[in-house]
């Protein structure tokens, strides 16, 4: 346990010293400020809009904007997770950074778990901070709260953790550049699958819905994101709720407990495969 914490702390200190936190904080503040300006202008004008009958313009605008902020939060969290983990094994081994650590009596699985925990210790608070900051700003400008407050944030953080785990797994087998590209493409593919699912719901295409469902569960960060989007307008009914769930920033797919359990199992499987691959790898 001490070794795990030592290596996790080492990863955190590296991020701190390499000014990762400074860059991330500055850019995140810029993102939050831009979001605040966007919501301010939107709600300033939304009072003048006369929506079609059955649509609550303020709720629609607020949940649409917050859904967009959730996408931004997920994207930034994923970028952070990938860059913190994409070279943990092969990248560090090629640079000669890994060998001095691995020959110590700590075990390769410890190194991998510690690096995952280090990334999680950065990414989870980051995602939650952005999520709650944008939520508070949405409420401040639009007097709107999402239907579920905490769960969607946790699901976003869970999605980012899954991407971090996949990136760690990729780092065992791929060079950092190849791994980064692969994980970003996987992330993009997941998002496209989610959008296709939304379109499938609009068109009532069972084929599209089915394909999107399979893709979303194959990469459960997307399913978690969809479930988080759905949760923020869970109790919004009528035409407003219907339109929101058509997307792109409203989820039509309900995950529920099964999804969360699957996400945990997925993390465990990805972790086990990564550890097994790392154990067999010559350095």
């Amino acid at each position: 346990m001490t070794a795990t914490l030592t290596i996790a702390g080492y990863g955190l200190r590296e991020a701190l010293r390499r000014k990762v936190f400074v860059v991330v904080c500055v850019l995140s503040v810029a993102f939050v400020v831009l979001y605040w300006l966007g919501t301010r202008y939107t709600f300033h004008h939304v009072g003048n809009v006369v929506p079609p009958a059955g649509i609550d313009a303020r709720t629609f605008a607020a949940s649409f904007l917050f859904g967009m902020a959730m996408f931004g939060t997920l994207f930034l969290g994923v970028v952070l997770a990938i860059f913190l983990t994409l070279g943990v094994v092969r990248g560090d081994a090629e640079r000669g950074l890994l060998q001095p650590l691995v020959v110590r009596p700590v075990g390769r699985s410890t190194v991998l778990i510690a690096r995952f925990l280090g990334a999680a210790a950065v990414c989870v608070p980051y995602v939650l901070a952005l999520y709650f900051a944008t939520m508070v700003l949405t409420h401040a400008e639009g007097s709107w709260w999402p239907d579920r407050i905490v769960t969607p944030g946790l699901e976003l953080a869970g999605g980012v953790l899954i991407v971090a785990a996949l990136s760690l797994l990729g780092s065992v087998f791929l060079s950092p550049v190849a791994n980064g590209i692969a994980i970003f493409m996987l992330f993009g593919a997941g998002l496209v699958a989610g959008l296709l699912g939304n379109i499938g719901h609009v068109l009532n295409s069972h084929g599209l819905i089915h394909a999107a469902k399979i893709a979303a569960w194959a990469v459960p960060f997307e399913a978690l994101y969809q479930d988080a989007l759905r949760a923020i307008t869970e109790n919004t009914s009528g035409l407003t709720g219907f339109l929101l769930r058509l997307g792109p920033f409203g989820g039509a797919e309900q995950g529920g407990l099964g999804l969360r359990l699957w996400a945990l199992a997925y993390l465990a499987v990805v972790g086990a495969v990564a550890v097994a691959g790392f154990q067999r790898r010559d350095l």
Partner: protein, 338 residues
């Protein structure tokens, strides 16, 4: 199999090789030693200084490798290597590029898995936690994170090996490699030579029983090499076993107890530098010049001098010539420079 006997004064600080022991107060126990040796060629008497108590027992070699084979796909890196580094022994590993030296060292420290054969570090299978706890390693191509200071790096490794040496150990190690002044300097602000010396200090964290050094002087200037040589001699005095992989034959010849030459994944020559050297004649300096006797050996020197004196020559000196390690090496590898 463990025997304990009380002695009046420290025998030595750490487990050391049989030859290094001061046995004058353990004479009655030499019989035990002889019995222990019967348990196998790796069993020998070991004295460990522990609160005025001497612990005796058969102890495995620091590194024991037998029939070691490693293949990377169709490429064979090691083709059945047998090598032993006894406790307190400094063994030099020589060979051309691609001979398998680094692979052997990597298998010993668990970075590479062997295809066949056995490697043990202090009795534990190479790569296991116990084996890794007993060794220190400096890779040929290593890098430390540029953002850490020398002190922080050593502290990190202290935590990983659960060393309780604290600041005192770190200070001693930095002093040992001549980096006391650079204690708070970041790695990225250090020269390559300083980083290499820091690498040696890092390998020594936690007082390892076996030190595996893969080209530790490749980036050092002559003064730096001298520092490392002095350091190796100091480690030898402390009873630390060392496997030194180096291309610098003069260095190996100066400090190593034994040398093994690897070629195409096999040990082609092994022994002490003296054993490996072959006689190259005798040179005798006289008032008429230097006389060389190509076929003569050490035992012939008195007769040769007597004959020269009888012939009226004044003899100033005699030198027995042997091949240098470089000549032995070139002979063993057949000029191979892959």
């Amino acid at each position: 199999m463990l025997l304990r006997g009380v002695v009046g004064r420290p025998v030595d600080r750490a487990p050391v090789g049989h030859a290094a022991l001061r046995l004058e107060r353990l004479a009655p126990l030499q019989r035990v030693d002889a019995r222990l040796r019967r348990f196998g060629d790796r069993s020998f008497l070991v004295a460990a200084w522990h609160e005025a108590e001497c612990t005796l027992g058969p102890v495995a070699a620091a590194l024991a490798v037998s029939g070691l084979v490693k293949r990377y796909g169709n490429v064979g890196a090691l083709a059945g290597v047998d090598l032993t580094v006894e406790r307190g022994e400094l063994v030099g590993l020589l060979g051309p590029n691609g001979a398998g030296k680094s692979t052997l060292v990597k298998i010993a420290c668990g970075l590479v898995r062997p295809s066949a054969g056995r490697a043990e570090v202090c009795g534990a299978r190479a790569g296991t936690r116990d084996a890794r706890a007993a060794l220190g390693y400096l890779a040929e191509f290593f890098r430390f994170p540029g953002w850490t200071s020398a002190d922080e790096l050593l502290e990190l490794h202290q935590r990983l090996v659960a060393s309780d040496g604290g600041m005192r150990e770190r200070g001693e190690l930095l002093d040992l490699v001549g980096l006391t002044e650079a204690r708070t300097r970041r790695v990225e602000e250090m020269s390559k030579g300083m980083q290499q010396r820091l690498g040696i200090a890092q390998a020594l964290v936690g007082k390892p029983q076996l030190l595996l050094l893969d080209e530790p002087t490749s980036a050092l200037d002559p003064v730096g090499r001298r520092t490392v040589r002095a350091l190796l001699e100091e480690l030898q005095r402390r009873g630390v076993s060392v496997l030194l992989n180096s291309h610098l034959l003069s260095e190996v010849e100066l400090v190593c107890d034994r040398v093994a030459i690897l070629l195409a994944g096999k040990v082609v020559a092994a022994g002490t530098p003296g054993e490996l050297a072959s006689p190259r004649g005798v040179e005798i300096e006289t008032d008429r010049g230097v006389a060389k006797y190509a076929d003569a050996v050490r035992e012939d020197v008195p007769q040769l001098i007597e004959r020269l004196v009888r012939d009226g020559c004044s003899v100033f000196g005699a030198r027995v010539l042997t091949s240098t390690l470089e000549e032995v090496y070139v002979e063993a590898v057949g000029g191979e420079t892959q």
